[in-house]
Each structure stands twice: as structure tokens, then as C-alpha cells.
């Protein structure tokens, strides 16, 4: 997933020293759920339980948001992102926005 880039949701990369900071980087993606999958999830909703279609969709989208965040960091010349946070919001009935943000830094 991370092409040589260190990610961490703590304030430092454990065991490494931060030498430079490049500020906040972020990546986001808005995904609408597929009508067919939504139908399937709707059926699944009759009994409740895990909604696999949504689980997969959101995992995929979150990875995309992470990728975009890492690209942002790479373009600034950073090799690590610390204090990564995730946020999700439903922007309308059928779509969700997935958002990842963190601080781009260089570590040794």
C-alpha cells in the first residue's frame, strides 16, 4: 500500500527522528454506491448484520483517499506522514465522502 512511505497515527514515527515538516496533507474521495450493490445491501438489510458490499466499497475508497494523501506528501518531498486521521461523512443519500489527513514530514 505505502510505496516506501511511513504512515503513522501517532505524533512521531516510532523509532525514527523527524527532521522536517511540510504541513498538512490530505486526500479525499467521494464514492456513490452502485445501484446493484445497493439493491443487494438492501436485501441484506432485511435481516441486518454485516453489509459486505458497503464494507468493500468503503475499504476501496479509503485506500484511494490514502493514496491521494500520500501523493500529496510525495509531491512536497516528504517520506512519512504522521498523525493520520480518517473521517467519513454521508454527503447525500447514496454517496459517502472519505477523507484522510495528516502531517507530512521527513524522517531519518
Amino acid at each position: 500500500m505505502s510505496q516506501g512511505m511511513h504512515l503513522s497515527n501517532t505524533e512521531t514515527i516510532p523509532g525514527k527522528l523527524i527532521t522536517a515538516s511540510y504541513g498538512l496533507v490530505q486526500g479525499s474521495t467521494v464514492r456513490a454506491k452502485n445501484a446493484f450493490k445497493d439493491f443487494g445491501a438492501g436485501l441484506k438489510n432485511m435481516v441486518g448484520g454485516e453489509l459486505k458490499a458497503y464494507t468493500e466499497l468503503l475499504q476501496e475508497s479509503r485506500n484511494e483517499a490514502l493514496q491521494r494523501m500520500m501523493m500529496d506528501a510525495q509531491s512536497r518531498g516528504a517520506n512519512a506522514i504522521v498523525n493520520v486521521r480518517f473521517a467519513t461523512s454521508a454527503v447525500s443519500g447514496g454517496a459517502a465522502e472519505l477523507f484522510a489527513y495528516g502531517t507530512a514530514v521527513t524522517v531519518q
Binding site: L7, N9, A41, N45, M46, G48, L51, A90, G93
Partner: protein
Amino acid sequence: MFGNWHQGKILNQLASEEKALNDSGAGHPLNNLSKPSKSTNVESSTLVMSSISVGPSWWQMMLGGWKNFFGGRIESYDKMLSYGRRKVLHDMRVQALQQGFDEIINVRVETSMVTKKATGNDKTAGYEFIAYGTAIKYSRS
């Protein structure tokens, strides 16, 4: 109803998986400290996450709708939400053990609603749980 039975089944399954893991003597590598708990040198660290989305059944949504009117605890929702949260933490623990991480620090669990309404006319209701943290491997030397 049928949904309740299905959910009871997956809850029991999760409980037995958790129990099997505990009985096998596996450690509890998750914590939400912001720094590694040992002062040993850290060999590698990486961001790990696990997520799941769950939804209540239609019947439960309807019951939930009624309960919203009178107030009080919504037991049917209780079950599904606690399942989701336990499941992501369990998956994360399994992930840590399988990949040989010594601990996962700064674990956060977040909940979000992926559909518009929890109750009412919308036929699907989904909640997403995501757990993420920094997995750490200590150097063995």
C-alpha cells in the same frame, strides 16, 4: 424475528472466535497510548486499519422508529452496533498477531452513518466502523 436470530448467530460466532483466541494464549496487542509501551528499539512501524459496515434489520428499524417516539434504550440497535465495534477490534488483533506485530498503539475507533437516515422510509441503514492504529515491531536483538 429472523433478523434477530441471524444476528444472534454472528454474535455467538464472534464470541467463540474471541474465546478461542484468548484460550490459545494470544496476547492483547491493542492499546491507545500515544507512544510505544516499551523503550526497546523499534524495528518497523506501519499504519493498519480494519473496517466493517453493519445494518439493523427492517424489523429492528421499525422497532427503533417506535422507540424513538417513546424514548429509552433501543436494544435491537445495541446488538448490531456492539457487534460492529467488537468485530473491527477483533479483526485488528488477529491481523496484528498474524503479521507478527508486537503491539498496535494509538488505536482509534470511529463510527459513521453511511446512509441518510437511521430510521424511517429509507430501506437501507448502514453504520460503518473503522479502527486504525500504528502497528509496531520491536527489534529482537
